[in-house]
Symmetry: C2
Subunit: 237 residues, 2 copies
DNA sequence: GGATGTGAAGTAGTTCACAGCC
DNA sequence: GGCTGTGAACTACTTCACATCC
């Protein structure tokens, strides 16, 4: 493959969060039968400026062709590699209430770079059911994995986190509004869905949004700090 | 009222996103029967540094007492006011698949500053059902509101957004992985849940990770090396 | 003493402007 | 001509260090 000009610098956090979006757009382009895309269109369709797109992609290597934009296939391949899509991670989902079910049934969530290997719950009414092709097991049967996605109530989150640590799972994606205590060496990435609405309400009340003289177009990634919502440039048409 | 200490500067985006977290911690403190909290504890329990807490809160006014920390009730009141919790916004949720149901049933999502006034879907199998105390109506009946929460598939998102604009809804919280085109004056806040897992996977593969370095809720900091020759001593606490 | 609030310094990220290459 | 890649300028956010006040 054309991996020769891969540079792999250290990528910034906002850049990492934008790569999945670029990839989605690139895939749409490929499905649409086109072979190339330029930074202006990619930026427009991803909701960011063209300069940001070029800066982000330059961090992966010299992927484009001056005067002609980017080859969609190259982008897809290089972004995928940067995100680790060439080798799948084993993922378990714990808690199959509405949120857990929403995630495992969602088309985009567990497709790339992640392989769902197990579903767990404490509720006997759910254990034994088949969801997304997997039988829900008791949390007591928890097997090891690379990542655990916690979709349990806040009150249960710490106990479940402890259980994960016990099962040698060292990366947790936590959807419960509860800060977890884990030993050093275990990563926790928190996502608090309620924050998103709160932020939107703040802007509504304070007129920071549409009234500020531009379209408020922000991409939020949960609690992970991207929050790049400068309402200056208007990225779509 | 002693509203003299309110300052209401312009708050930064990261600060706004942290306020709901502070508020949650403060409520836990109040429920626990305590009257005061200092920036160190608030920071620890929110997953940020004490300095960041003080900087954030100073943006709301002079809320603390030097030498004695913050009064929990004052914090609750001032943070709530900053987020607009004193007056509720009318919110509708469109799309009651698993995600939509997860949100409306979630304890923290629609409680503060938001009043759920309607649920809408296109699916006849769902229309008419009662969820969280509301009868699901057809999207064609869509009434006006302050905010619409879109929990529909990506393929339907643009059509639904158009419908919202038609219904004079000028703020959209979009959970579909699809950039929406809306006229000027309408705010869109995107939330892409799949990004969260992708970012976590990136860090896992690159070892950058576990250290949540710099992420908002990085209470869980695993040591990592960062590989930098100079990054020897871990300055965290 | 003890903790806040804040100028100053430091760091990170974005945007500008243009050189370089197709 | 067109578009990428990038130094330089700019902006935003965080952290340090300490004056300030209870």
């Amino acid at each position: 493959m054309t991996t020769s000009r891969l540079r792999r610098r250290k990528l910034s956090e906002p850049t990492i969060a934008r790569l999945p979006i670029y990839q989605r757009v690139v895939e749409e382009v490929i499905v649409g039968g086109r072979a190339r895309i330029d930074s202006v269109e990619l930026g427009t369709r991803a909701g960011v400026t063209a300069t940001t797109v070029r800066r982000d992609l330059a961090g992966l290597g010299t992927l484009g062709t001056r005067g002609a934009g980017y080859d969609a296939a190259v982008l897809q391949s290089c972004i995928g590699e940067a995100l680790g899509h060439d080798r799948d991670c084993d993922v378990v989902v714990i808690g199959l209430g509405n949120l857990g079910r929403a995630l495992v049934n969602s088309s985009g969530f567990l497709t790339r770079g992640a392989r769902l290997i197990g579903l767990y719950d404490v509720d006997d009414a759910v254990i034994g059911k088949v969801i997304a092709g997997h039988v829900v097991q008791s949390i007591h049967e928890l097997a090891t994995a690379s990542v655990a996605v916690l979709c349990v109530p806040a009150s249960a989150a710490q106990a479940v986190a402890d259980r994960c640590v016990e099962a040698q799972i060292h990366a947790l994606l936590n959807f419960a509004p509860q800060v977890l205590s884990v030993p050093l060496g275990t990563a926790v990435h928190d996502v608090d869905l309620s924050i998103e609405l709160q932020v939107l309400l703040y802007h509504l009340h304070n007129g920071t949004g549409p009234l500020g003289g531009g379209l408020l177009h922000s991409l939020a990634v949960g609690a992970s700090g991207l929050a790049g919502s400068s309402a200056r440039e208007e990225p779509w048409r």
